[in-house]
């Protein structure tokens, strides 16, 4: 095999994810690195369904279903109980963008601020998919959802969740996507190695029905998000040390990403809006490049070893 992805599976087939679900694949690949000494906490989201209805479920690790807003705090409690029992089990809060960017943000911020020893993973499909594609604060500017129809597409840019997490100065935060499996695997391993504090992974996860595209385009869509710099792959240590982990070879226009998905029809129909988005993407990319270079300079300066 050409891939550095482990062969062992910790997710059974028979999940209820839609055809081509990026969230399902995200879970499958993350679990391969997590192994079986782990517990997943799922707030309300597609994954509450995907894992299967009682009395069956798909993951080969214990899953705790919990209320929409509570993923981080429930994970914190379970970790505390495990610690009391002298167990080193990895506790993962696995939430959608709604359960992370919106309703889950308070609990997440609290856990991050306390630097809880948990891994919080957001599989971001950029809307409330489970309840029928309503917008969230992760929905990008100019996007169609059922609550932001074509005539009135999403008016606000996507919330900068990575910036928020970095501001908490947690040990490790990273973006990743299953379209780059080796990068994803490595980041999960890095997060596991950084145990003792809060780790955050932001995984862009295609949703074919919610993104209005063919199921078999799912990987290509996530790949193009990276190639166009719409979703750069990077990691942040201690909230300050930035590192871009994948450098696109050539500048690919954002339209290449948008044109694959029906949800971006309003963007593609409005040149001014498209230009605005294009500029936002560039600006954001150059911001990251600058942070990346700054971190390199600091690391090579004599007093740069300690950023804290």
């Amino acid at each position: 095999m050409r891939w550095a992805v482990p062969e062992a599976e910790f997710m059974d087939p028979g999940t209820l994810g839609c055809q081509g679900c990026g969230g399902t694949l995200s879970m499958r690949l993350v679990l391969k690195e997590l192994g079986d000494d782990a517990i997943a906490v799922l707030p309300a989201c597609c994954w509450s369904i995907i894992d299967g209805p009682w009395p069956v479920h798909a993951l080969n690790i214990p899953v705790f279903h919990t209320a929409f807003e509570t993923a981080a705090v429930v994970a914190t409690g379970i970790k505390a109980a495990k610690q009391i029992k002298g167990k080193d089990t990895t506790v993962v809060a696995w939430a959608g963008d709604g359960g992370t960017f919106d309703i889950g943000l308070q609990a997440l911020s609290g856990a991050a601020e306390r630097n809880e020893d948990i891994v919080f993973i957001c599989y971001d499909n950029e809307a409330y998919m489970n309840t029928g594609i309503q917008r969230s604060s992760a929905t990008p500017l100019g996007t169609w959802t059922t609550t932001t129809p074509d005539e009135r597409p999403e008016p606000r840019p996507k919330k900068d969740i990575m910036g928020i997490m970095a501001a908490h100065r947690i040990p490790y935060a990273a973006t990743a996507t299953v379209a780059y499996p080796d990068d994803l695997s490595r980041k999960v391993r890095t997060a596991l190695a950084a145990k003792g504090g809060m780790r955050f992974l932001h995984l862009l996860s295609a949703c074919p029905p919610g993104w209005k595209m063919a199921a078999d385009d799912a990987i290509e869509a996530m790949r193009r998000a990276v190639q166009t710099n719409v979703f750069p792959l990077y990691e942040v240590r201690d909230g300050r040390e930035y590192k871009i982990t994948h450098w696109p070879e050539a500048e690919v226009d954002v339209a290449d990403y948008f044109s694959l998905q029906g949800r971006f029809a309003p963007l593609l129909a409005d040149d001014a809006l498209l230009n605005l988005v294009r500029n936002n993407v560039r600006e954001r990319w150059w911001f990251l490049v600058e942070r990346h270079q700054q971190s390199l300079r600091k690391a090579s300066s004599p007093d740069g070893a300690h950023l804290h």
């Binding site: 028979g14 209820l16 069956v56 078999d216």
Partner: protein
């Protein structure tokens, strides 16, 4: 409100303990199913021999050169030779080039490496003898390939050639700097080790007739090539040196330069090699060709090599007459222009009426070759005076087959090999011996629109290197290193052939592909999203409509 002090104080909560596998048969959602489907890669389809390129590349990659050699030689017994001189029809068709604009995979260089790597391996000896004797006349690539496959089938094979040593154009045409004679000799030794008998210095027609052969042998394959040189048809013809004869003489080590200024008339492969040999021996060489570079029949690479050697080309130059003056040859040439295309599709050279005189020490003719049909009795001829041949080389006499340059006119080594192999197969069939010939390649060819080049590395193509100058006839290029070969193989998409890259396994969202040296799809659960098919680099999987799948 109750206090929760003991585990028994907690209310019961539902817990799922069984696997989704037990009841959620998501395969029922599917309307299309992915299936592994071996199809032809465009390179394999373009190779006259149909060599299964992605498959043997995988063998090399996974450290099985013997298997790669067996796979290759099931269609082409001489990778060491074609790996050096073939015009690589395969590379022209490579999907990588079409899809991405990157250079094609260096298939020929890999083939050459494999040939060299396995040069010490003996060819398989037949497991059983058929007791049939088959004669092959002509020991060029067509005859040698036929002998190889016939012997492999267990026949007793004798190869006759009018020359003192076998090999045909491999020995006496293609010069050593492109194909060293030692390689031809080593290949011949391997054939001898299989039990093939060579009888040299026996000419069909004068020493022996087809009737003589038919009296002794169960079948005869004739591949006497196209070795008769065309004359230029100009005044002073006798002052010209025939190019092919010159190449043969140099091949025998009889090197003689007529002087330091030479001209070669013609634009085919023979002209290129004559010009290059002269140049490499130190002469100043001018090729006189009546059309331009675009219409020239020589293999493009050979023209480029000639230019690199320092050969000069005079285009639109038609020799009209040659005469001798003060020990020099004066060639009168007329300038031409290009008119309408002729039957060959190339623009026809038209006279301008403007003539000049050029001076040389020696002038060589290389304007093409034809077959000598005199050894063939009239009963084998068609009404147009040519040999009457079926596609598999069958003549009108059921015991006699023919092929190679003899049948096609000057062509290529690999086409000659194919003719030999095809005739061997036809002879086997004719003799009623149901030897297991490999199945024919799948007809369906993977198109460039189907492949996914995302996962192959983007590095530049690597091919044979130029060798350091070690004399005019020392091999001019060097075989790639092991590391370079592996690196180059990584660029291959493996069109239509699962090379166990694992991409489908990694990307299946539902984990329904298990890995048993390759992908195994569990249709009980596959939802038919099609991601495995879309991501498979070489599109070795296809989607089939469920309605077309018969259920048991």
């Amino acid at each position: 409100m109750s206090t929760l002090n003991h585990v028994d104080d907690y209310p019961e909560i539902p817990v799922s303990l069984a696997s989704t596998r037990t009841i959620l048969k998501t395969g029922a959602w599917r309307s299309v199913r992915p299936v592994l489907a071996e199809r032809s890669a465009p390179c394999s389809a373009a190779c006259p021999a149909g060599v299964g390129i992605p498959a043997y590349l995988q063998d090399i990659k996974e450290g099985r050169p013997k298997e790669a050699f067996a796979a290759l030689t099931s269609r082409n017994p001489f990778p060491r030779i074609t790996g050096r001189v073939c015009p690589h029809f395969c590379e022209q068709a490579c999907n990588l080039e079409e899809k991405t604009g990157r250079d094609s995979v260096s298939i020929r260089s890999i083939e050459r490496w494999l040939g060299d790597e396995t040069a010490h391996l003996p060819h398989p000896v037949p497991s059983r003898e058929t007791g049939k004797q088959v004669a092959v006349v002509g020991s060029g690539p067509a005859g040698l390939a036929a002998a190889f496959y016939l012997r492999r089938s267990g026949h007793e094979v004798t190869v006759f050639d009018r020359r003192d040593l076998p090999g045909g154009m491999l020995r006496y045409g293609i010069p050593d700097y492109r194909l060293p004679t030692v390689i031809v000799d080593e290949e011949l030794a391997r054939l001898e080790a299989m039990g093939i008998e060579f009888r040299n210095g026996v000419a069909l027609g004068s020493d022996l007739t087809l009737d003589d052969l038919e009296a002794t042998y169960a079948a005869v394959f004739v591949a006497t090539g196209a070795g008769r040189e065309r004359t230029v048809g100009i005044e002073g013809e006798s002052l010209l040196e025939p190019g092919l004869a010159f190449l043969e003489a140099t091949g025998r080590g009889e090197v003689a330069l007529p002087g330091d200024r030479c001209a070669v008339i013609g634009g085919g492969n023979t002209a290129m090699d004559v010009a290059r040999v002269l140049r490499r021996l130190g002469a100043e060489v001018t090729v006189l060709y009546r059309r331009t570079v675009t219409e020239m029949p020589a293999i493009r690479e050979e023209y480029e090599h000639a230019v690199a050697d320092g050969v000069t080309f005079k285009w639109l130059t038609l020799p009209r007459a040659v005469k001798k003056q003060d020990g020099k040859l004066i060639v009168t040439v007329e300038d031409m222009w290009l008119g309408e295309p002729d039957e060959s599709g190339r623009r026809r050279p038209m006279p301008t009426g403007v003539s000049r005189e050029l001076r040389f020490h020696g002038v060589f003719s290389a304007t093409g070759e034809t077959a000598d049909l005199t050894p063939f009795p009239d009963r084998l001829m068609s009404s147009d005076g040519w040999l009457s041949l079926a596609e598999n080389g069958a003549t009108t006499d059921p015991l006699v087959y023919a092929g190679g340059d003899l049948a096609t006119g000057p062509a290529t080594v690999i086409e000659a090999i194919v003719a030999g192999r095809r005739a061997a197969r036809a002879i086997d069939h004719q003799l009623g011996l149901d030897r297991l010939w490999p199945e024919d390649n799948p007809i369906e060819v993977v198109g460039s629109a189907e492949v996914n080049p995302t996962y192959v590395p983007r590095h530049d193509r690597t091919a044979d290197h130029v060798a350091e100058w070690a004399g005019p006839f020392a091999e001019e290029s060097v075989t790639m290193t092991d590391a370079e070969v592996l690196y180059e193989i990584e660029r291959c998409l493996s069109c239509g052939h699962c090379n166990a890259c694992g991409t489908c396994f990694v990307f299946c969202p539902d984990g329904v592909i298990t890995w048993e040296d390759g992908p195994v799809i569990d249709y009980e659960f596959c939802k038919g999203c099609g991601i495995c098919v879309a991501e498979c680099p070489g599109h070795a999987m296809i989607l089939v409509n469920e309605r077309e799948v018969s259920h048991v």
